[in-house]
């Protein structure tokens, strides 16, 4: 049943070790990707460049601007002297927020009349715009209440004070949320493509035809191809997890052993998908295209970038077919929330089921005869 397995493992290992440069790249590139994406994908909006058109220039205006900068959300990058200049700074992209304080701002505050401040926000970057909008509103609200309280001669006291406490990622660091997801997505891209390429390359070079006239068994050939890449996957997973822990300082709240176990399961499922791709593709270009049928939903629909809850039903179900969806839940569960096996076994079971199903499908398609 496993006839030729050892020989195929031997050969694949020689292929991988033959070219240390490729091996180095295989292991290094995911780490680089993790570093680049880990730093780049940052939804924490801080220090939004802001220009100020201050017609008032007195204490009231200074206090307001102080409130803006001390929120951490805004960073004043310049002062302008006209509406046109304010607009130009935003259009040119040098600033994303413009604050215009009218000349009677301090007067109206002192007189107890309502004072207006205009805040222009660049909506072309929706993440920063949302953040700027809500922070600006809050600043305005607090400033109003302080004035109201002063006028009443009392201290600032809120009637209802909601105390929100964010569990598991108290600083709301994007890295803690994104990097575990990246680990899953990057592992999938690399391992799936490597596996698919390794088999399709044999089709391209005609070596598969030569193998087909030997008595190597189907299972021996398939497993012989997968085992070395499984080992590469384990190395790769270790590297990216180490980077996650020590470079991005994402603490692992749950059991490391459980994380390792589920990672092996995910690697198995990913290898099966790679094998399936190779049974459809005749060359490496095609393999890349077929792989993207799995990889794109893995990026967009797995919950890696956007929450699955808000997706239309049909799209949501596509997201349920990619293994990364379940691995992401496992990764975030173990790493961020310290979830245990009892909390995550269903995701693991689906992952295993998906892997077995795809492997059987791929094996059935992988014939030792030509079409």
């Amino acid at each position: 049943m496993f006839r030729g397995l050892a020989a195929v493992v031997y050969k694949e290992t020689r292929h991988i070790l033959r070219d240390p440069r490729t091996l180095f790249l295989i292991l290094l590139i995911p780490c680089l990707e993790l570093i680049v994406f880990g730093y780049a994908v940052n939804l924490d909006v801080k220090h939004i460049p802001t220009v100020v058109f201050d017609l008032d220039g007195r204490r009231g205006a200074r206090e307001l601007l102080e409130a803006y900068t001390s929120s951490g959300c805004f960073r004043i990058v310049g002062h302008v002297g006209s509406d046109a200049a304010l607009t130009r700074e935003i259009v040119a992209g040098r600033a994303k927020v413009g604050i215009k304080i009218p000349e009677d701002y301090s007067d109206r505050l002192l007189e107890g009349r309502g004072a207006q401040v205009q805040v222009f926000i660049d909506g072309s970057d929706s993440t920063s715009a949302m953040q700027a909008l809500s922070t600006s509103n809050a600043i305005g609200m607090i400033a109003s209440m302080r004035v109201a309280a002063e006028n009443l001669g009392g201290r600032l006291e809120l009637a209802v004070d909601t105390r929100n406490r964010v569990l598991f990622n108290p600083d709301m660091r994007t890295a803690n949320f994104m990097v575990p997801g990246l680990v899953g997505v990057i592992l999938q891209v690399v391992i799936m493509l490597l596996t698919a390429f390794a088999i399709v390359r044999e089709k391209e070079h005609g070596t598969l035809e030569q193998l087909m006239v030997t008595p190597v068994s189907r299972l021996g050939l398939i497993l012989g191809k997968l085992v070395p890449f499984f080992v590469v996957g384990v190395l790769e997973a270790s590297f990216v997890l180490i980077l996650m822990r020590f470079l991005f300082h994402v603490p692992i709240a749950g059991s490391l052993l459980l994380l390792a176990g589920f990672t092996l399961l995910f690697l198995f499922t990913t290898l099966a998908f790679g094998l399936l791709v190779s049974t459809f593709a005749e060359n490496q270009i095609q393999a890349l295209q077929y792989a993207f049928l799995v990889l794109l939903p893995s990026f967009l629909l797995s919950g890696f970038m956007f929450p699955q809850e808000t997706m239309p039903q049909f799209i949501y179900y596509i997201g349920q077919a990619v293994p990364v969806t379940y691995f992401l839940r496992i990764l975030r569960g173990i790493i961020l929330r310290g979830a245990g096996f009892a909390d995550l076994w269903q995701n693991g079971a689906i992952l295993a089921g998906l892997g077995v199903f795809v492997l059987l499908l791929a094996s059935a398609r992988f014939r030792k005869t030509l079409k």
Partner: protein, 328 residues
């Protein structure tokens, strides 16, 4: 048109009305043949005529859509795995691993064919000795020249001591010296009892085969020993003979000859003409050529060459197809 081969050697390949259709296209059409132990069976035919398809069927790579074939007594379709254990196969293109060394490729195939670990080293040395690739053990397969690549492919295909070897155009694209060496190697192996099924386009290689089959438009139109094929009545019909005509200006002379009523066919071979004409017409032919403006021609009777055989049979078959007598 099978030529009888009264032999008592074991039958290695037996094909009985084997066909293979791809949709509406018939790549191999009711081919029957027998190859006996120790034969070097040369399989000839134009590109696309079905040579590779038949080889793939006999190797168990393709399922026949009609007929039945056995290799070493086993059905190529239902017992293909058993067939694969006892045959060697060299495909048209070089299909070993370029980034593995000569030894690594050999070790891989020794493993695939399940040669016991303690016999492996000895077996590898045996095939290295046979093909003489000992000086290149450490070289990567991709760095070998064409001739050495073929020898390595042969070594890998021999490592499990197959009784039958399929070679699909083994000498395509290698230089004449390497070509001759490879053929000497095949004779050497045939002498040790290995049977060969070889496709080729080269007539000189066909001449060296013990038996030849010629496939044209999916049909095996003839097979037998080279000598038998040359004596076929279709090739040199009764009352006709083959002449070698030496005359200056062969191209123009060929057109003149084809106009003579007693000339069946005239073909240029380098600086001479091969003419198929009614027996006893050589004197008349020289006279007619002289009158047509080609003085000083010489003619002498020659036996048919294999090329004559294939040209004649191909023309006849093409004519049959054109006249719609295809499905005879």
């Amino acid at each position: 048109m099978a030529v009888s081969m009264p032999e008592d050697r074991p039958v290695i390949i037996h094909a009985d009305e084997v066909s293979r259709r791809f949709g509406a296209f018939t790549a191999v059409d009711r081919v029957s043949l027998d190859v006996l132990e120790g034969d070097i069976f040369g399989f000839l035919g134009p590109n696309g005529s079905g040579k590779t398809t038949l080889i793939r069927i006999l190797c168990g790579l393709l399922r026949p859509t009609g007929g039945r074939a056995t290799v070493l007594g086993r059905d190529v379709h239902t017992e293909s795995e058993a067939v694969k254990r006892s045959i060697g196969y060299m495909s048209q293109q070089f299909s070993l691993y370029r980034d593995l060394s000569v030894m690594e490729n050999l070790r891989f195939y020794a493993g695939i064919y399940g040669i016991p670990r303690r016999e492996r080293a000895a077996r590898m040395e045996e095939v290295i000795g046979i093909v003489g690739i000992g000086d290149h053990r450490r070289k990567l397969a991709g760095a070998l020249s064409g001739g050495w690549k073929q020898r390595l492919a042969l070594a890998c295909a021999l490592v499990h001591r197959p009784r039958l070897m399929f070679l699909d155009e083994p000498t395509a694209g290698i230089d004449p010296v390497a070509r001759r060496d490879l053929w000497n190697l095949l004779f050497d192996l045939a002498g040790r009892g290995v049977t060969f099924f070889v496709t080729t386009h080269y007539m000189d290689e066909a001449e060296r085969c013990s038996h030849i089959g010629y496939i044209y438009y999916s049909r095996l139109i003839v097979y037998g020993t080279p000598a038998e094929l040359k004596r076929l009545p279709d090739v040199t019909p009764a009352g006709a003979e083959r002449l070698e005509v030496r005359v200056p200006g062969v191209a123009a002379a060929m057109r003149a000859l084809n106009a003579f009523g007693y000339v069946h066919d005239a073909t240029i071979f380098a600086d001479v003409l091969h003419v198929l004409a009614d027996r006893g017409c050589s004197g008349r032919l020289i006279g007619d050529l002289d009158r047509a403006g080609f003085p000083g021609a010489e003619a002498k009777p020659i036996p048919a060459t294999l090329e004559d055989v294939f040209v004649t049979l191909t023309r006849r078959r093409a004519l049959e197809r054109a006249e719609g007598r295809d499905d005879v």
